[in-house]
């Protein structure tokens, strides 16, 4: 949705007086706009329409004649008054509360370490940290599942219950963290590399240690990139689905409505209530856009203040 907002916010300036020009910008944005309309806006509109309908059965014991009827905001009321919906949001926020700061801190620390003057083997280390990002989420979750389960665990699953009712949040967050860490680390590392080297020279001549250099110069300079990483992580958390879904068959601790997207999936394709699922999905869409805007605004404010 972040892409959607920016694309929508910059309409091509058309100037009728000059005849040849107007076609070109239209032409250039056309592919992106058409794909966006077809695959983002059209499904969203369709989901919204579905969310206002419901299935109504009649005709005998097994209701062999069923029809779509208009439900108004019934599905939305059902979603918003369902404690499981808020429960799933709560669990997602718990995972995010563990995962997002961890990603941010680890990605920053790794990037700073790789950028330090004394760092050796940076090429190898960078690749090693980046590599988990290249492993598909489902595969990573399966592998972590094996690492967690007592029967196959090489990391103490026999003594620690990784699927307990508290540990489960850390277990899921852990899988997600390693999935996105490498990418975010590279984003921050690239930001570090783009800082003019003269600044470091000047600081070192003034007697700044490596640590002071990192904390006083590098960190403030990459603040905008860190805002972006935070934003990506928060959006990533909202989209949490693969990891808990893949781990679900391994444990009782993950229900079919454990996080909001799993609830949407369960409503639509397990309970066959595509309408209720659409209502939850649309509610989530509104929330996601809201959070994205909020994080963006707050993040920009923060990074503006710190760069002053």
């Amino acid at each position: 949705m972040a892409i959607a907002l920016t694309a929508e916010g910059s309409p091509p300036a058309s100037r009728r007086s000059r005849r040849r020009r107007p076609a070109l910008p239209v032409l250039l944005v056309a592919p992106a706009v058409i794909l966006l309309l077809l695959f983002t806006f059209a499904p969203a509109v369709y989901a919204f329409v579905l969310s206002l309908l419901k299935n109504h059965v009649s005709g005998g014991l097994l209701g062999t004649s069923n029809e779509q009827v208009f439900a108004g905001i019934e599905n939305y009321i059902a979603t918003l008054t369902d404690s499981e919906f808020w429960g799933s949001l709560g669990r997602m926020l718990l995972v995010a509360a563990v995962g997002v700061p961890t990603v941010l801190i680890l990605a920053t620390v790794f990037a700073l370490c790789l950028d330090a003057n004394r760092a050796r083997l940076t090429g190898f280390s960078r690749l090693a940290i980046f590599l988990p990002y290249a492993v598909p989420g489902v595969i990573a979750s399966l592998l972590w599942g094996f690492l967690y389960l007592p029967a196959t665990s090489p990391i103490g699953g026999q003594f620690v219950d990784y699927f307990g009712n508290t540990t489960i949040f850390f277990a899921v967050a852990n899988v997600a963290v390693w999935g996105v860490l490498g990418f975010n680390m590279v984003v921050l590392y690239t930001a570090l590399k783009s800082i003019p080297r003269e600044l470091f020279d000047a600081a070192q001549i003034d007697g700044a240690s490596e640590l002071q250099l990192a904390l006083r110069i590098k960190l403030p300079m990459i603040a905008p990139a860190m805002t972006m990483v935070a934003l990506f992580s928060v959006i990533g958390a909202l989209q949490l689905f693969n990891e808990p879904t893949t781990l679900k068959p391994l444990t009782n601790a993950i229900s079919s409505t454990w996080v909001p997207l799993m609830r949407v999936y369960t409503d639509s394709f397990v309970n066959n209530d595509i309408y209720g699922g659409a209502a939850s999905a649309f509610t989530l869409l509104v929330m996601t856009v809201g959070v994205t805007v909020l994080v963006n605004v707050v993040g920009t404010r923060l990074s503006n203040r710190s760069s002053r």
Binding site: V26, P31, L35, K54, G63, L250, A253, V270
Partner: protein
């Protein structure tokens, strides 16, 4: 300019159409073909079914069946069938377990086949009740799957237990003996992931989750009998006498294979699945009747059992029904099913076929396996009818009981959640619930 714009648009649009083409995948089952053999598609997940289908294809050049293995079994498949029925892409014939038939009818996935098949007189009323609704027949019953208690005879013997538990009290006592002899070992697990395991136990206890009169439903999932079952298992879990994890998980498979879980309350079909669950334990298992609530009570619930249904999407329902009737209701078809899929026939007429005199390969040490099945099958009891939204009941069971096991909260509350969610959904959909 307009032309230019159009041409410019044509590129992305054609790209988009190309993409859309990629996503539109499988086509509807069967050709509307003018001449040549009728082609049917058949979705079924049982091991060994390919042999049965090959035999049919050889004998019936004019009706060729293509077997499809679904990506998921049970409700994963049924939900896909429900979704796909609107798209018209379902296979002609689908494996459907008894509890899912009302769900499949109310979602118009399967059609009545009365006009295509001659007679199902050889089936008992008890079996026909599972496929006939409001005077119509929705499939030819294949098998009957009573609950069976499978246990590791070697480990029971070593623990000094000479005979399988006859009552649930004995089961609890044996559970304690096994767990104290080796704290790693459990007599069984509580399976929050298999709703039909639990509904089977409830059937045995006398539960009657759904019943109907006219077009009014009664839903009694948290009836006294089911509460008794729930409390019993919570008691075992509280005393750490059964393992808490779900079946078919990596953990459970490993525990079954290494002998940490030494018993499994399962269905008649278990010997078809055990080779992939616990391959190292072949020949070490024995099958017995599930313990009774009162000694001597022979009543037993079921887990699974299937019909092959003809889908509403099929363009050749007559041929599909013919195939289904051959497979599930002829000596030839059933002999093949018994040998290759380890099926136990639903019709009493076929329950003494010669093919049944040999036990399934995994149970080779128990020659009278099928005699036991015949005896259990004659005592099968069940709910009046399965609900039209059993999928929701089952999913809620997994969620609610999974949560209760993890958080050590009351099973009776979980049972109430299942009842309330089921009733709420039925009312929301427009069913009349008393």
């Amino acid at each position: 300019m307009n032309k230019k714009l159009l041409r410019a648009l044509a590129i992305p649009v054609s790209a988009v159409i190309g993409l859309a083409g990629l996503t539109a995948c499988s086509t509807a089952g069967g050709d509307s073909g003018s001449s040549g053999p009728v082609k049917l598609t058949f979705v079924n997940w049982d091991n060994g079914m390919d042999v049965v289908v090959a035999a049919w294809n050889k004998a019936n050049p004019n009706i060729q069946v293509k077997l499809i293995k679904p990506s998921g079994t049970g409700y994963t498949l049924y939900n896909k069938l429900i979704t796909d029925t609107k798209a018209g892409t379902n296979p002609d014939v689908a494996e459907i377990e008894y509890p899912a038939i009302p769900l499949m009818i109310s979602n118009k996935v399967i059609v009545p086949i009365d006009k295509y098949i001659s007679s199902l007189d050889n089936y008992s009323k008890n079996v026909l009740n599972r496929v006939q609704f409001e005077g119509k027949t929705y499939g030819v019953p294949q098998n009957i799957c009573p609950l069976v208690f499978f246990y590791r005879k070697d480990i029971f013997d070593a623990a000094g237990i000479t005979k399988p538990p006859a009552t649930w009290d004995e089961f609890a006592a044996d559970a304690a003996i096994i767990h104290s002899a080796n704290p790693k070992q459990y007599i069984s697990n509580f399976d929050a992931n298999s709703p039909e395991w639990f509904s089977g136990l409830s059937e045995q206890a006398g539960g009657n989750w759904w019943s109907a009169s006219g077009s009014t439903w009664s839903v009694n999932i948290d009836d006294a009998a089911t509460q008794k079952v729930a409390s019993y298992w919570q008691g075992l879990l509280d005393k750490d006498l059964v393992a808490p994890g779900p079946s078919w998980s990596t953990q459970w498979n490993t525990d079954m294979n290494t002998g940490n879980i030494v018993g499994w309350i399962s269905g008649q079909w278990a010997p078809n699945q055990l080779p992939s669950i616990a391959p190292d334990t072949a020949g070490k298992w024995a099958a017995a009747a599930v313990p009774a609530w009162t000694a001597g009570d022979k009543k037993i619930g079921t887990w699974g059992g299937e019909v092959e249904g003809v889908t509403a999407n099929s363009k050749h329902p007559a041929e599909a029904a013919k195939f289904v009737n051959w497979m599930n209701n002829s000596q030839e078809g059933l002999n093949l099913l018994i040998k290759n899929v380890q099926v136990f026939p639903a019709s009493a007429k076929y329950q003494s076929l010669p093919a049944l005199s040999t036990p399934p390969p995994f149970m080779s040490t128990q020659p009278d396996y099928n005699t036991l099945m015949a005896q259990l099958a004659s005592n099968v009891t069940g709910f009046d009818i399965w609900g039209p939204n059993a999928n929701i009941t089952f999913n809620t069971y997994s969620d609610a009981f999974g949560k209760a096991v993890t958080n050590k909260t009351s099973f009776l509350d979980a049972l109430k959640t299942v009842q309330d969610t089921t009733v709420a959904d039925m009312k929301k959909s427009g069913y009349t619930v008393k």
